[in-house]
Each structure stands twice: as structure tokens, then as C-alpha cells.
């Protein structure tokens, strides 16, 4: 498909005038199912003759498997099948560069919870009992518990691939003469920060049901955000033609990025269903969900930033050390993401980024809401607060001075579209009464401000290809019915409602007139999945194109019938009529029949491919987006100096959304992001501990339960004042940008900045717990630096940086010390030296 072009004049896609659906607060199309308990989640599916699967998981963080004896389990009454790694030896993984997982570990377990065998039985309890009958002989290996240990312990290797030893990936990029930038600075700030890992904690535990269809094909219903990528992984591991596999993503009971990888349990039940020729179900326990993880990477960061006296940034150098856990997952993309978006919020003319992800013997980290950009956003925004104080500039004014502007190309060659960061800042300054509060509230009370930017859809797919990222088909029937087919996956964010609202708007219908079949690889064209805030812009633009194409056909047929020029035909209120004489028209149903009589069966398609990015250097595939959302937030805190307890009475947030397709759902995404950010700021952490030596000294998850993994309850949630800044973006459907992730990002640094305003201590680490507050207060009392946070950044052997001159230094997007990645003169020529699936660096 050709690249999508915005209409001339930079107008947003879609009709801009007199909107009847778009922009109106509406009941979402799937609301009735949700409030009646009829939404069918994966574990709600029960099929005749269905068997149940349980996984035997490693009790050791790192071990070789010497042997597995399954004979007793197989003989257990009610057991149908026992699978081990030998049955599923082919490796898979979400990224083509990290095919490092096996559905059942063949000979090497890498974290407590790694699956080694599966029992399939008539009853779930029988399968569970039989797990105890499997004997696994392990040879214990040295455990790598954190990145510093990984750097210092090259053997035993957790994986036999990666940069070296237990280093998964090291990257280094340099945009412009950074040393010169520091030389030109009036002040240089160096700060280290630590962002603890945390997990998604969707209330729905992952579940899957697989069955062998009567014709021998495979169908799997599963709680996944990425049915297309699972489809590919199943085809690879099961060695089946993709055409014989159907993946149905059931509505997810919360995802937040945690259901974006192909999972071992999905592959296991698929295999079992094929072997047994009967449906097989698995539903993970909550403890197992903690082992699936793929959550926020723990990241140690060092920021060095040079500024002029007026606050303008002359150069920035960011180093990140990332705890990847036991597998690659999205980790290569996550690594680049820790360095990608520093430039999209504020103008950074020269920028050096070095990132290092290590393997450790913990559940694998991956993408969680804000993927990889959340941790450095925390560091950058807290450091800006320190810079503002030193330069004696109000932190809001500092940010207004350095905010990026619309249509800029950043130092790392990301092309921005609309940027309304300054307006967001002005809104929260006003609504929060910032000027009357900052540094003026009584001791123990404080306000903090922070901002962020986030992608509206990853510009590149996970695997290299030139096909659209999203497709929509529309079918029209003689009863006036419109049916939409799309691979987009409903994870609660409202993707179905987005698609219905766009089609309804174009065709003059109500959203409830549209029937939707989504998240099904058999029924709908591919959509890459519900990740990277991509559904509204990508599936939305595809739906818009399909609806406009149908509208053109129907309008032509109706124009003939009414004997009016086609330009005068209008669609509204379920009628198609002459805009000059609205009484002269037909019902939508009649219009569809006229079109079918005129053109034959009416069906249209639409698709969307993001614009090509000017970031041509290796690694430039992570971070480009058709457009970026912007957010500013002010958090007010009250800190008890005796207990260190933090309460948050109120948060003010403004989000640059482009246009809110359904303001009710947009507000829900903003507030849900604020909530999740507040959890990360104050309490959520994925912690590990060593068992006592007399047991095994194994590294185990400290809190694999909801009770101990603290998350905010209804009692902890503050009031939130949400404002939407709406300047329709030319790239978005009806001007819409993302909202699902961006509003989370400013919350953690705004809390940290507010704590400083309240009690004068810096907590350079997340979560900000009472214990850390008390330690920092003790430092303050003792006359030392009033701070809690990491003291050093360990030595890493960084590779030579790819040097990319920024646009203002004559750069063309390529690295000057690397082969050109794309010939700019002949953009249609594929790069001959590239092996697809190997060196492409991906996105999420």
C-alpha cells in the first residue's frame, strides 16, 4: 500500500465540520456486555470434552535440567498427556533478534517459575496433583541477581547469545558534538536515579483455550494484546502453516503491556489440543502471572545535562543500565526506548545515549505502559527540577522556555507533528494555582510539576515488512447493516468504540449500528496489536479509509437516484440526502440497496502504514511515530515528617490529545494512567529476595501475590482534574492522538518534585516509600546531602557510538561511521545488504 497522505492543507483526516458522533461523550459500544458480566473473557470459555492444563515450574532461579521423569505423572488416573521441552523444542520470542524462549525448557531454567513440563488432565485438580509426580533432576548454577552482578559475572551465561557474557545488548548513539555542547554550558548537572521494576497486575489472570477444529485446523482463544504476533509464533513452534491457525484474542481483562508477548502456556495448550484432539484450557494462578511478568524494567540511570543560564539545554548524556530478567522479550526495543524520547519533549541540540541491558535470573521484563520511556522520564524531569532551582527559574517557566515546537525534527531525527506541551503546562499552572503554591505552602505540603511526551503508535513493526500496520474491512448488507472486521484487540481501552465511532461518523450512523468482529486472525485483516498506543491512529485511519470508500460508492448511487451532483450528497441521522434540500433523500438502508444494485455486493477495505521516518541510523527504528502526545501534571502532596507517609490530595493534568473521539473514554485513560503512575510512584515494586542458605539460597520473588504487591485502592486515589488540549493533528483520524500511556509518565517525577517542595529532600528513586523519606530526612538532619538514591553508576564497556549529525549540523539521518541504511535518492530501493528478520530493530 502507498503511504497515507494527509489531505492538502494539513487538515486532519476525516470530515471536520458538524461532528455528530466524534467528540461527544458516549456509552461505549461494548458497555452493555461489560456491565452485565457477559463479556466473554478467555477463562469464561468452556467447551465439550475440554481438558485442563497445569505447568510444572522451576523452583530454581538458574539450573541445568539433567533429566525429567514423567512416568508416574502419566500413570496418574485422569491424566491424558504430559509434555516436556522435547515436544516443543523450537525457540521463539516476540522480537526476531531475540528468539530465546522455549515453551517448556529443554535443558536450562533461567528463573523461578520457568516452565519445564505440562500435565493435561480431565480435571484441573488432577493435573495439579500430577505435577508433584514429575521428577526433575537439576544441576544448580550460579544465580545472577542484578545488572552489576551480570556485568561482573560473564559465566555461567544465562543465554548463549547477546553481546557478551550476561550482557544482552549494549547500544551507543551520539547526535552532534556533545563534548562541545558541554563546553558551551554555563552549568553542568550530573545525577543518578534508580527506577525499580513493577508489574502490570491485570486483574484477569492469563488464560487460553485451544482446540482442534473438525477440519484439523487449530483455534486458540487467549488473553493476548497481540494476536498477530502470537499467530506467527504458533506457526513457527508448531511447524504448521499459518493458514491452519486461528488466533482469537478474547477481550483482555486488563493488559497494560503484560499480554503482548507470545507466551509458553499458549503454545503448550495449542500443542496439547493438537495431540489429544480435544479442547485444552489453561488459566494461570496469580502467582504464575507474576512469573510471566514482562513488566517494567528496573533501570539505573545517569543524566549529565549542560544548560545555559537561561535554562536552554546545550547537551545531554544519558546512560542506562537495565535489568532485563531471564529472556529477551521486547528488551532490545526497551533498551533503545530508554534513550529515545528525551529529545521529543524539550529541545536537546546535542545528545549522547548509552544503554546496556543485562540478563538476570528473574522473570523477564518487557513492555509496561510507557515502555522503556517511563524510567528516564522520571530522571529527566527530576533533574530539570534541580536545574530550575539552581538557576532560580520557576520549573514551569523553565519547561515553557525549552519545550519542543510543532513539526520539529529532533536531534535523533524523530519528526514531530502537533506539539501542545506549552499549552498543557499553562493549563495545569492555572488550574492548580501553581504560582500561589510552589515554594509557598507550609512545611510538609508541596507541589511538583512534570511533563512528558509519548508515541502515537510505533512507526515500525516488530518484524521487518512493507505491509500496512492495520487493515479494516467493511461489509454492508441489505438490511442497512454495517459489519467491521479488524485485527485490533480490545483490552479495555476502547478500541472497538474507536473503530465504531469513526465508521458511524463517516456514514451518518450511530455507533450501535455497527457490528464488530475484532481480534480474530481468521476474520479480520491484520492489525499489529494493542501496544505502543497505536490502535486509534492506525486501525482508526484504516477504518476511516474503508468508510470513506464505502461512502463514495453509496453517495454515487444515491446521487443518481436523487438526480443531484454527488458533492451534495450528505450522510447523517441514518439518512443519505441532498444537502441543499435535506428532505430529498433515502434511508441509509435504501442507500445501501441502491449501491448494491449499482455496483454489486458492497464491501470496502482500508489500511494504514505510518509515514517513513527520517531516522535512518541503526536503532532509529525505535521511537519514530506519526505524532506524539504531550502531557503536563501538577501533583500536590502532604508528607508526614514523623512517619514519612505521603498522601496525595489532588492531581491536575492536561493532555494534548489532538481530538478526543469519545471524551468519556479519554478521561478514563487519563485517570487510569494517573492511578497507575501513582502506584508506581508510591508503592508498586517487583522485589526479590534470597532464601536462607539452609534452604537453597535461591533468588525468589518477594511478593508473588496481590496482597503483598501493593497497588492503590479506592481509598488511595486522589481527586484528579483533567483537561484535554484539542488541536486536531493532521496525522490522526479526525485529529486524534494517543491517550493510553502518555499521561502516566509525568506522575512519578511530579510526586518526587512535590516531596522536595514539601520537606526539602530529594528521593531520586522510585517507588518513593516512607522508609526512603525517613532516611533522606535523617541525612538532612545530619547535615549531609538531603537525598535518597543511587550513589554511583557502574563501569560499562560501551561500544563506539554511532555518530549521527543532527539536522542543524547537516545530518541526513544516517550515522557517519556506519554504512548508510537507506539510499535517500532512491527511497523505493530496498537495502540489499539487509537481512530482514535479523538486523531490524523494532518497536513497541
Amino acid at each position: 500500500m502507498p503511504e497515507q497522505k494527509s489531505p492538502p492543507g494539513g487538515k486532519p483526516n476525516g470530515n471536520d465540520g458538524d461532528l455528530r458522533v466524534i467528540g461527544h461523550a458516549r456509552r461505549r459500544v461494548d458497555a452493555r456486555a461489560k456491565v452485565t458480566g457477559q463479556t466473554r473473557f478467555a477463562d469464561d470459555i468452556s467447551l465439550p470434552r475440554m481438558a485442563h492444563c497445569k505447568l510444572l515450574r522451576s523452583p530454581h532461579p538458574h539450573a541445568r535440567i539433567r533429566s525429567i521423569d514423567i512416568s508416574r505423572a502419566l500413570a496418574h488416573p485422569g491424566v491424558y498427556l504430559v509434555l516436556t521441552g522435547k515436544d516443543l523444542p523450537i525457540e521463539y520470542g516476540i522480537l526476531p533478534v531475540s528468539q530465546d524462549e522455549q515453551a517448556l525448557c529443554l535443558d536450562h531454567v533461567r528463573h523461578v517459575g520457568d516452565p519445564v513440563a505440562a500435565v493435561i488432565a480431565r480435571e484441573e485438580l488432577t493435573a495439579f496433583e500430577a505435577l508433584d509426580l514429575i521428577q526433575v533432576d537439576y544441576e544448580i548454577l550460579t544465580t545472577i541477581s542484578d545488572p552489576e552482578e551480570a556485568l561482573a559475572t560473564p559465566t555461567p551465561r544465562i543465554h548463549d547469545y547477546g553481546d557478551e557474557g550476561n550482557i544482552h545488548k549494549r547500544v551507543a548513539l551520539e547526535f552532534g558534538n556533545v563534548d562541545q555542547g558541554f563546553a558551551e554550558a554555563d552549568e553542568i548537572f550530573e545525577d543518578t536515579f534508580f527506577y525499580q521494576g513493577n508489574t502490570h497486575l491485570p486483574i484477569e489472570q492469563h488464560a487460553s483455550v485451544a482446540t482442534k477444529d473438525p477440519d484439523g485446523k487449530l483455534t486458540i482463544w487467549t488473553s493476548t494484546q497481540t494476536p498477530h504476533y502470537l499467530h506467527r509464533a504458533l506457526a513457527k513452534v508448531l511447524q504448521m502453516p499459518p493458514a491452519h491457525i486461528r488466533v482469537i484474542a478474547t477481550p483482555n481483562g486488563g493488559g497494560f503491556g503484560g499480554k503482548s508477548d507470545p507466551f509458553n502456556h499458549e503454545i503448550v495448550v495449542a500443542k496439547a489440543a493438537l495431540v489429544l484432539d480435544r479442547p485444552v484450557k489453561i488459566c494461570l494462578t496469580r502467582e504464575e502471572v507474576f512469573y510471566c511478568h514482562r513488566g517494567r524494567h528496573p533501570v539505573l540511570m545517569k543524566f549529565k545535562t549542560g544548560v545555559k543560564k537561561d535554562g536552554s539545554i546545550t547537551a545531554m548524556h544519558l546512560q542506562t543500565l537495565i535489568d532485563g530478567g531471564a529472556y529477551g522479550s521486547y528488551g532490545v526495543a526497551s533498551t533503545f526506548y530508554t534513550g529515545a524520547l528525551q529529545t521529543t519533549t524539550y529541545h536537546v541540540p546535542r545528545y549522547r545515549f548509552q544503554g546496556c541491558r543485562t540478563f538476570t535470573n528473574k522473570p523477564p521484563c518487557g513492555p509496561k505502559r510507557g515502555h522503556g520511556t517511563v524510567q528516564p522520564r522520571f530522571g529527566q524531569e527530576v533533574q530539570l527540577d534541580k536545574i530550575a532551582e539552581k538557576l532560580q527559574i520557576d520549573p514551569a517557566d523553565l519547561r515553557l522556555r525549552i519545550a519542543e515546537s510543532s513539526n520539529a525534527v529532533t536531534a535523533n531525527f524523530f519528526r514531530l507533528s502537533t506539539v501542545n506541551l506549552s499549552e498543557c503546562i499553562r493549563r495545569v499552572v492555572k488550574s492548580s494555582d501553581w504560582r500561589e503554591k510552589f515554594r509557598k505552602l507550609p512545611e510538609g505540603h508541596g507541589v511538583g510539576l512534570a511533563c512528558s511526551a509519548y508515541l502515537t503508535g510505533a512507526g515500525l513493526p516488530i518484524y521487518w515488512n512493507k505491509m500496512p500496520h492495520s487493515g479494516v474491512q467493511l461489509k454492508f448488507d441489505r438490511g442497512g447493516g454495517v459489519t467491521l472486521f479488524c485485527g485490533a484487540t480490545e483490552i479495555g481501552q476502547g478500541s472497538d468504540d474507536v473503530l465504531a465511532s469513526i465508521v458511524a461518523e463517516v456514514l451518518g450512523l450511530d455507533t450501535f449500528d455497527i457490528r464488530l468482529y475484532t481480534g480474530d486472525t481468521d476474520l479480520g485483516p491484520v492489525d499489529l496489536g494493542s501496544y505502543s498506543s497505536r490502535v486509534t491512529i492506525m486501525a482508526g485511519n484504516a477504518a476511516l479509509q474503508a468508510a470513506e470508500r464505502a461512502k463514495a460508492l453509496i453517495a454515487e448511487a444515491v446521487a443518481e437516484r436523487l438526480s443531484v451532483p454527488v458533492e451534495r450528497v450528505r450522510f447523517a441521522e441514518k439518512r443519505v440526502f441532498d444537502s441543499a434540500a435535506p428532505g430529498n433523500g433515502v434511508t441509509f438502508t435504501e442507500a445501501v440497496c441502491l449501491a448494491e444494485a449499482r455496483f454489486g455486493t458492497i464491501g470496502t477495505v482500508g489500511s494504514y502504514t505510518p509515514p517513513k521516518s527520517p531516522a535512518l541510523y541503526k536503532g532509529g527504528g525505535v521511537g519514530p511515530s506519526p505524532t506524539y502526545s504531550y502531557t503536563a501534571a501538577v501533583v500536590e502532596v502532604v508528607v508526614n515528617p514523623v512517619t514519612g507517609w505521603i498522601t496525595v490530595p489532588k492531581i491536575w493534568i492536561a493532555h494534548d490529545i489532538g481530538r478526543a473521539l469519545n471524551p468519556t473514554l479519554v478521561r478514563g485513560q487519563v485517570e487510569g494512567s494517573v492511578y497507575m503512575g501513582l502506584g508506581e510512584a508510591l508503592m508498586e515494586e517487583q522485589e526479590f529476595r534470597r532464601l536462607p542458605k539452609k534452604l537453597s539460597h535461591a533468588l525468589v520473588h518477594k511478593f508473588p501475590s496481590i496482597l503483598e504487591y501493593k497497588s492503590p485502592t479506592s481509598l488511595d486515589m486522589p481527586d484528579v482534574f483533567t483537561e484535554l488540549v484539542e488541536e486536531p493533528d493532521p496525522k490522526g483520524p479526525f485529529g486524534a492522538k494517543e491517550v493510553g500511556q502518555g499521561p502516566l509518565l509525568p506522575i512519578m517525577p511530579a510526586v518526587a518534585n512535590a516531596v522536595y517542595d514539601a520537606i526539602g529532600v530529594r528521593i531520586d528513586e522510585v517507588p518513593i516509600t516512607p522508609e526512603k523519606i525517613m532516611k533522606a530526612l535523617a541525612e538532612k538532619k545530619a547535615g549531609r546531602a538531603p537525598r535518597f538514591g543511587p550513589s554511583h553508576f557502574p563501569h560499562v564497556e560501551w561500544p563506539e557510538a554511532l555518530r549521527v549529525p543532527p539536522p542543524w549540523e547537516g545530518g541526513d539521518g544516517n550515522a557517519i561511521n556506519d554504512v548508510p541504511r537507506r539510499d535517500k535518492a532512491k527511497p523505493e530501493q530496498p537495502h540489499k545488504s539487509r537481512t530482514p528478520e535479523k538486523d531490524q530493530v523494532l518497536s513497541s
Binding site: R27, R28, D30, A31, R32, A33, K34, V35, T36, G37, Q38, T39, F41, D43, D44, S46, P77, G78, R122, E123, L125, T126, E129, H200, L201, P202, I203, E204, Q205, P251, N252, G253, G254, G255, T285, R286, I491, G492, Q493, G494, T664, L665, R667, G668, E671, G672, S673, V674, Y675, M676, S705, I706, L707, S711, T713, S714, L715, M717, D719, V720
Partner: protein, 170 residues
């Protein structure tokens, strides 16, 4: 040779009122009310998020009071009254709480929603005009990861007004 497994023998039986209907069910005696509802009675509207009494997703009303059905053995429910999300609406219409939740964005993924709805109903049955703080308190055992709770509070408050206006007019 086929061996008979004793595990799943449906040797327990209860008769109880489920959403206003007399219901008889046989099940394996170790099963919780949650399991019996979902697996033996096909009432899958009630969800689970931990099966340890931590998340609140499995709340149902037992004799009008919210309980965690994952911590309750089904054998304890003989002759008692159980209400689930399936029993909230009547004659094809939604309960005012359901309408308000649907209209005001109180259900995003919808997974915690059934339990929050029945918990909120128990609150309103007992206290028809709760304050925001009383709503917060009543729902504090029900975790929701999507909404940030605020639209849930607003939906409960909207339902309070709707129910009040309805009871005045009748």
C-alpha cells in the same frame, strides 16, 4: 484399563436461591462458591483475579451482603440466597447502577465490574444516599487497574440520583 478418579466426584449437593431462582446443584465437595457458579452453573459473570481473597473480583452477595466467593465453600451456601451480576437487571432492563456504569466510563476492561456492581448494590440497599467517602470505603476491597476509580464513584453517585428520582415518582 480405565481407572476411576475420585477427585471430581460430585458428591456434594445444595439447594439455594441464585438470583431469585431456586437452584439445585451437585459438585465436588472441595469447590468454592466461585467455582460452582462458574464451572457447575455456567454463571461466568463472576470473575476471579487471585482465588486468595485479595483482589475482590469474585464478590457476590450472600443474603444481601458482599462476600468473596473464592473464600467460601459452596457447601456453606445451602438454603441461602446468592446474587450475582446476572441477577442485577430485571425484565430485560439494566439496573440503574449498570446503566450509570455503562454511560459514565466506569467499566473499561470490565473484568472487575461485576463484583464492583454487586458490592455497590449492597451499599445502596443499606444506605441509599452514601457520601463519596462511604462509596470509597465500600469499594476499597475491589481492585480496579483500569479506571483509577473516579468514574466508578461518579457512576455510583449517578445511580443514587436515578434510583432516588425513580422511587419518588412511584
Amino acid at each position: 484399563m480405565v481407572t476411576i478418579s475420585p477427585v471430581s466426584q460430585k458428591s456434594a449437593q445444595i439447594r439455594f436461591i441464585l438470583n431469585g431462582e431456586q437452584t439445585d446443584v451437585s459438585f465436588a465437595p472441595y469447590k468454592t462458591l466461585l467455582e460452582v457458579l462458574r464451572e457447575d452453573l455456567n454463571h461466568t459473570g463472576t470473575k476471579h483475579g487471585c482465588e486468595l481473597g485479595e483482589c475482590g473480583a469474585c464478590a457476590v452477595l450472600l443474603d444481601g451482603k458482599p462476600v468473596l466467593s473464592c473464600l467460601l465453600l459452596a457447601v456453606e451456601c445451602n438454603a441461602r440466597e446468592v446474587e450475582t451480576v446476572e441477577g442485577l437487571g430485571a425484565n430485560g432492563t439494566l439496573h440503574p447502577l449498570q446503566d450509570a456504569f455503562a454511560d459514565l466510563g466506569a467499566a473499561q476492561c470490565g473484568y472487575c465490574t461485576p463484583a464492583i456492581l454487586v458490592t455497590a448494590k449492597a451499599l445502596l440497599d443499606q444506605n441509599p444516599h452514601p457520601t463519596r467517602d462511604q462509596i470509597r470505603e465500600a469499594l476499597s476491597g475491589n481492585l480496579c487497574r483500569c479506571t483509577g476509580y473516579l468514574q466508578i464513584f461518579e457512576a455510583v453517585e449517578a445511580a443514587v440520583l436515578e434510583i432516588a428520582s425513580h422511587s419518588k415518582s412511584t
